[in-house]
């Protein structure tokens, strides 16, 4: 819990696996006229081997864009991504194959992330085939072993995605991501499409793999309780920026940024007696447009405590308490 895993600046980190420095992604808005969507703005963090960093925020806050820039599904506009010390930001697509061996992704929607025309066996074997270094016998053996590890049987191997339940599909997605035994897995909302009773099954599975293989996870979700449960450190994003980052549970017990505070207040309390007494208001208003983000602090349009300075001067991420960074003028 009080791990030293994540650091906003990487100066003193211990064997960083993933270093993200000033990652930025802008793309032209539909309808053109030189309007730019500021999807991701100057995001930096570090993740060490075997640890989990959770990223939370509202839809459109850039958390998925961040993961997609890291695995190079998207090409970042600026900034650097270092994996095991190697700068992978500008490696041409052709030479990404050895990088992908170390880094895989689990997607939100297991209905669309699996090819409907491939059997489960082929889906899980595809990363091995792409690497071109396994015989067909090895491939078959590894796929069988992997499927049983994620709780599926031999008989599932010949099935197609539509023949599986949502939970089983996500297990296939996890098997595909883990078959190369990567060091880092980026999980983009891996449980939000699943039923409540199935979510915990998938989370336990991910945790077991982490302990066994020493995996690191970048875990993206909007369920703040689940993120707290799985993560060693948690980052909060708002409109493309990282506004708070904390090692350990500090973020939940002592949130510093007004946005984090509002987000936490918005979570329904699963106890009617406590919920009745709760007078916290949560967040008001809607997220602003990422095309013309507000000047200064991007959150000032919804912030109950915004001062004059917040409207003009963008706050920088600074260490407000040991292992706890926030970007707010008021802290």
């Amino acid at each position: 819990m009080r791990s030293e895993s994540t650091r906003a600046n990487a100066k003193e980190s211990d064997a960083p696996l993933l270093q993200v420095r000033g990652l930025t992604h802008h793309f032209p808005a539909r309808g053109g006229r030189h309007r730019i969507v500021h999807a991701l703005e100057n995001v930096s963090f570090t993740l060490t081997h075997g640890r989990t960093l959770g990223l939370v925020g509202e839809s459109g806050c850039g958390k998925s864009t961040c993961a997609r820039c890291i695995v190079r599904i998207l090409n970042p506009s600026a900034g650097q991504v270092l994996l095991d010390g190697q700068d992978i930001t500008h490696i041409p697509q052709k030479r990404l194959l050895p990088v992908r061996r170390k880094m895989q992704m689990v997607f939100q929607d297991p209905y669309t992330a699996l090819n409907a025309r491939m059997t489960v066996r082929d889906i899980v074997a595809e990363p091995l085939r792409a690497q071109r270094s396994y015989s067909s016998g090895e491939t078959r053996e590894m796929v069988g072993e992997m499927l049983s590890r994620v709780g599926l049987t031999r008989e599932h191997e010949n099935r197609y995605a539509h023949e599986l339940s949502g939970g089983q599909r996500q297990r296939v997605g996890i098997a595909r991501a883990l078959i190369l035994k990567p060091a880092l897995v980026l999980c983009d909302e891996p449980i939000s499409a699943l039923d409540v009773s199935i979510q915990a099954q998938v989370i336990n599975l991910l945790r077991d793999f982490q302990q066994e293989l020493g995996l690191a996870y970048l875990f993206i979700a909007h369920d703040l309780s689940m993120v707290r449960y799985v993560s060693d450190s948690v980052g909060v994003m708002y409109m493309g920026e990282l506004v708070e980052l904390s090692d350990g549970g500090d973020l939940y017990t002592r949130p510093l940024h007004p946005y984090t505070q509002g987000l936490l207040e918005s979570i329904p309390i699963p106890n009617p007696r406590v919920a009745r007494e709760n007078t916290a208001r949560g967040l008001t208003g809607d997220i602003a447009s990422p095309i013309d983000p507000p000047p200064g602090c991007r959150f000032h349009t919804r912030c109950p405590r915004a001062a004059a300075r917040c409207k003009s001067e963008p706050p920088l991420l600074k260490e407000a308490a040991p292992g706890h960074w926030t970007a707010c003028h008021l802290v």
Partner: protein
């Protein structure tokens, strides 16, 4: 939560305690190429005036189909096979279609999970709210309708209603669209609001705003609400009473406080323990419900939850449990409440045998 009852005065409601909506032993099936799918297999529930009933269940549990049956809005493949649905004493299932149309929208209003598919993309939102009034309140003039529409939009917390009147659904965010749906739903001051997962597609921050809005409008207008959701946190925040559905059956029915204090069905307990709380100890593994929900094209003959239940015995697999009713009105459909259920590995051993089983199941 007595606040919600403050507008409720027995003298204005002859019939006193008669529930707003009563569903008795409803059975609904869908007939597809793959045969009959028994989506609802004997659901009984009630929504009383001024209360918010939470209807919890996973996908396929029959929670939406139950209310679509009540409103006679089933897809063509769906058919009500049996049971009774009464709303304010009137039989909804045998009502003439013309009367049904007057009930829908005016007396019973609905909001759904995805407001974008419920709104017409080609018509300005103000016009769509206006249309509700045009359809159900024929005596209003165009001017009065417009004024009332603006009032409703403001009530649903849409800022600058006047300016937004002419905007189209695509110009709104998800939360704002849901507010438009709420304005439409409330246009005719309904007695019952059916809210089917209205916040599932929204972020927690916006969900919180919408839940607060529904709750304040509910106590202001004194309507009954049936809140369908899979999220127990939302139930805790919104509801006074809860029906838990699984496999097309009501597994448990209780006051919300009691349900969260002590669930009386292993499925409810499984739901409560499988989600981490904000204070969950990270070193403790989550205890998920093993397995997956039943295939409703071939539902198990016994308790639908038996294959996933840690306490299941032989009888659970072979025979459908009756619904046991306790003196305080709590209900649970589980053999473990039976007077001859063993004490060993029985979470209800202290109270077993004190509840009355219903007869039709026996």
């Amino acid at each position: 939560m007595t606040m919600q009852y403050k507008n409720y005065d027995v003298s204005h409601n002859p019939g006193g305690d008669e529930p707003l909506l009563t569903i008795r032993n409803l059975r609904t099936s869908f007939f597809t190429g793959a045969g009959e799918i028994a989506a609802v297999r004997g659901v009984s529930l009630t929504v009383r005036r001024g209360e918010c009933l939470g209807v919890v269940g996973e996908s396929g549990s029959g929670k939406s189909v139950t209310f679509l049956s009540a409103l006679r809005l089933l897809a063509p493949a769906g058919r009500v096979m049996g049971g009774e649905i009464r709303f304010q004493g009137r039989d909804l299932l045998n009502m003439r279609l013309k009367e049904m149309r007057e009930v829908r929208g005016a007396r019973i209003a609905m909001i759904f999970q995805d407001p974008l598919s419920s709104l017409n993309p080609l018509i300005p939102i103000g016009k769509q709210v206006d249309e509700m009034l045009w359809a159900h309140e024929k005596n209003l003039t165009a001017r009065q309708r417009k004024d009332k529409t603006l009032e409703l939009l403001t009530k649903a917390h849409i800022p600058e209603a006047e300016r937004r009147y002419g905007s189209y659904p695509h110009e709104f965010s998800g939360g704002m669209r849901q507010r438009v749906m709420i304005a439409m739903a409330l246009a005719c001051k309904p007695d019952l609001l059916v809210a089917d997962e209205p916040t599932t597609a929204l972020d927690v921050s916006i969900q919180n705003q919408i839940l607060r809005l529904i709750k304040s409008l509910q106590s202001e207008m004194g309507m009954g609400v049936a809140f369908i959701t899979h999220d127990l946190g939302v139930i805790a925040q919104m509801c006074t009473r809860v029906s838990v559905l699984y496999g097309g059956l009501v597994m448990e029915d209780a006051a919300a406080d009691d349900l969260f204090d002590r669930p009386l069905h292993p499925y409810t307990e499984g739901l409560l323990t499988s989600m981490p709380s904000l204070m969950q100890d990270r070193s403790i593994r989550l205890s998920p419900i093993p397995g997956s929900p039943p295939d409703m094209s071939a539902p198990p003959s016994g308790c639908p939850f038996a294959p996933r239940c840690a306490h299941a015995r032989n009888i659970c697999v072979s025979q459908m449990p009756p619904t046991y009713t306790y003196a305080d009105g709590r209900q649970s459909r589980c053999w473990l409440h039976s007077h001859d259920a063993p004490a060993f590995d029985n979470p209800y051993r202290d109270i077993r045998g004190t509840a009355v089983p219903d007869e039709e199941a026996l």
